[in-house]
C-alpha cells in the first residue's frame, strides 16, 4: 500500500501536517498531525510498504514490544484510511 497522489505532508509551525489537495481535498478537508513515528511510517508509505515492513521500521528505531507496535501501526493506518489517503 502507499500514499495516494494529492496527499502532502509539510512542516508547519514545528508540526508535521498532512492535508489533501486537488480532487482529494473534496473528499478530505481536515488536517492530520503526525508525530515522530508517524513521520517514519509516512515516509515508508510514500514509496509503498506493507504492514509488516512498517512494523519492522518502527521496531528498528524504538525498543518496544512487537504487539504494541502492531497496534500503533493499525491505529495509524486506520486514521489514514479514514481520510482516504491510502491506496491498497
Amino acid at each position: 500500500m502507499k500514499i495516494k497522489n494529492g496527499f502532502i505532508c509539510r512542516q508547519v509551525g514545528g508540526n508535521n501536517v498532512v492535508v489533501a489537495t486537488g480532487a482529494q481535498s473534496k473528499i478530505f478537508n481536515g488536517v492530520i498531525k503526525l508525530n515522530e513515528s508517524g513521520l517514519v511510517l509516512w515516509n515508508k508509505l510514500l514509496v509503498g510498504a506493507e504492514k509488516n515492513e512498517l512494523v519492522d521500521a518502527l521496531l528498528s528505531e524504538y525498543d518496544v514490544d512487537r504487539t504494541v507496535v502492531e497496534a500503533d501501526v493499525d491505529k495509524f493506518l486506520k486514521e489514514l484510511r479514514d481520510a482516504g489517503a491510502i491506496e491498497e
Binding site: 502532502i8 508547519v12 509551525g13 508540526n15 489537495t21 486537488g22 481535498s25 488536517v31
Partner: protein
C-alpha cells in the same frame, strides 16, 4: 469584465452579474497590467446556490465563486486568505479569528467604541495576508462579511488573536506550534496541489513571524482594554 487591485495584485474578473462589480467598486483599477484573470461559470454558480445553507441568489453566488477563484491563485503571489477581522490600531495590524458566531465583529466594535478614531477596520471577515520582503501585511478585500465593515487599505500584521467567549476577560499568548494547528480552520487552502503546498510554507513562516494570543472575552468595554493592553501595548 472589470479589473481590481487587491493586496497589490491585479485581477481581471469576467463577470456575468453587475453585483460582482458593485461589490468590488472600491478596488477597481485602470492599470493595464494583469496578474491573472478569474471567472465563475454557470455550473459553479448553481453548485454554490445548492450548497449554501441559506437562500442566496445567482448574483451573490457569483461573487462568492469569484472570491474563491481569486483565493486559489493567492499562493502564487506569497499570499493567502485568512478568515478573520483585521484592524489597525496605532500603526499595529491585528487579526481576530474565531469560529463563525463567536463574535469577531462584536469584539472589534467594542474596540471602536473604546478607542474611537485610533481604530481602523480594514476587513471584517476575509482579509488577504501577503508576505512582502520578509514581512506579513494584511490587506482589505471587497468581501466584508455579513456586517459589511471594512475599507480598502493595508497594514503590517503584527498579531493574531483567537477569540473565545468567556464570562471574564483574560488573554494569554499561544505558541507558534499550537497556533499553526489552530490556523488551519481559518485559512483557505487552495485545491491546486502546488498552491496548497506553497500556502503551507507561507503559514509556516507566518506562525514564526507573528505573535499569537488567545482571548476569552465578554461584550463589555473591558474586553477591548484587556486585548489592547496585551496586543498593542505588550503588557
Amino acid at each position: 469584465m472589470f479589473k481590481i487591485k487587491i493586496a497589490g495584485i491585479n485581477v481581471l474578473v469576467h463577470n456575468k452579474y453587475k453585483f460582482s462589480e458593485y461589490l468590488c467598486r472600491d478596488y477597481l483599477t485602470d492599470e493595464s497590467h494583469t496578474d491573472f484573470s478569474v471567472c465563475a461559470d454557470e455550473k459553479e454558480i448553481l453548485l454554490e446556490i445548492q450548497e449554501t445553507n441559506a437562500p442566496i441568489n445567482a448574483e451573490y453566488a457569483e461573487s462568492v465563486c469569484i472570491h474563491r477563484a481569486i483565493a486559489e491563485h493567492l499562493a502564487e503571489y506569497d499570499a493567502f486568505l485568512l478568515h478573520s477581522a483585521f484592524i489597525e490600531c496605532e500603526g499595529v495590524g491585528v487579526a481576530f479569528a474565531a469560529k463563525s458566531g463567536v463574535g469577531k465583529s462584536t469584539h472589534i466594535s467594542i474596540w471602536q467604541r473604546v478607542f474611537g478614531d485610533k481604530v481602523r477596520v480594514i476587513n471584517g471577515d476575509k482579509p488577504i495576508v501577503r508576505l512582502i520582503n520578509g514581512e506579513f501585511y494584511g490587506y482589505g478585500t471587497p468581501w466584508l462579511g455579513k456586517e459589511n465593515i471594512g475599507k480598502n487599505g493595508c497594514c503590517k500584521l503584527k498579531a493574531l488573536c483567537f477569540l473565545n467567549r468567556g464570562e471574564k476577560n483574560a488573554i494569554s499568548t499561544v505558541s507558534a506550534e499550537t497556533a499553526a494547528m489552530m490556523l488551519f480552520s481559518q485559512i483557505y487552502l487552495p485545491s491546486i496541489g502546488e498552491n496548497a503546498a506553497k500556502t503551507l510554507e507561507l503559514v509556516d513562516k507566518f506562525s514564526s513571524s507573528v505573535s499569537f494570543f488567545k482571548l476569552y472575552c465578554n461584550m463589555q468595554d473591558e474586553a477591548a482594554k484587556v486585548s489592547h493592553n496585551a496586543i498593542i501595548k505588550g503588557e
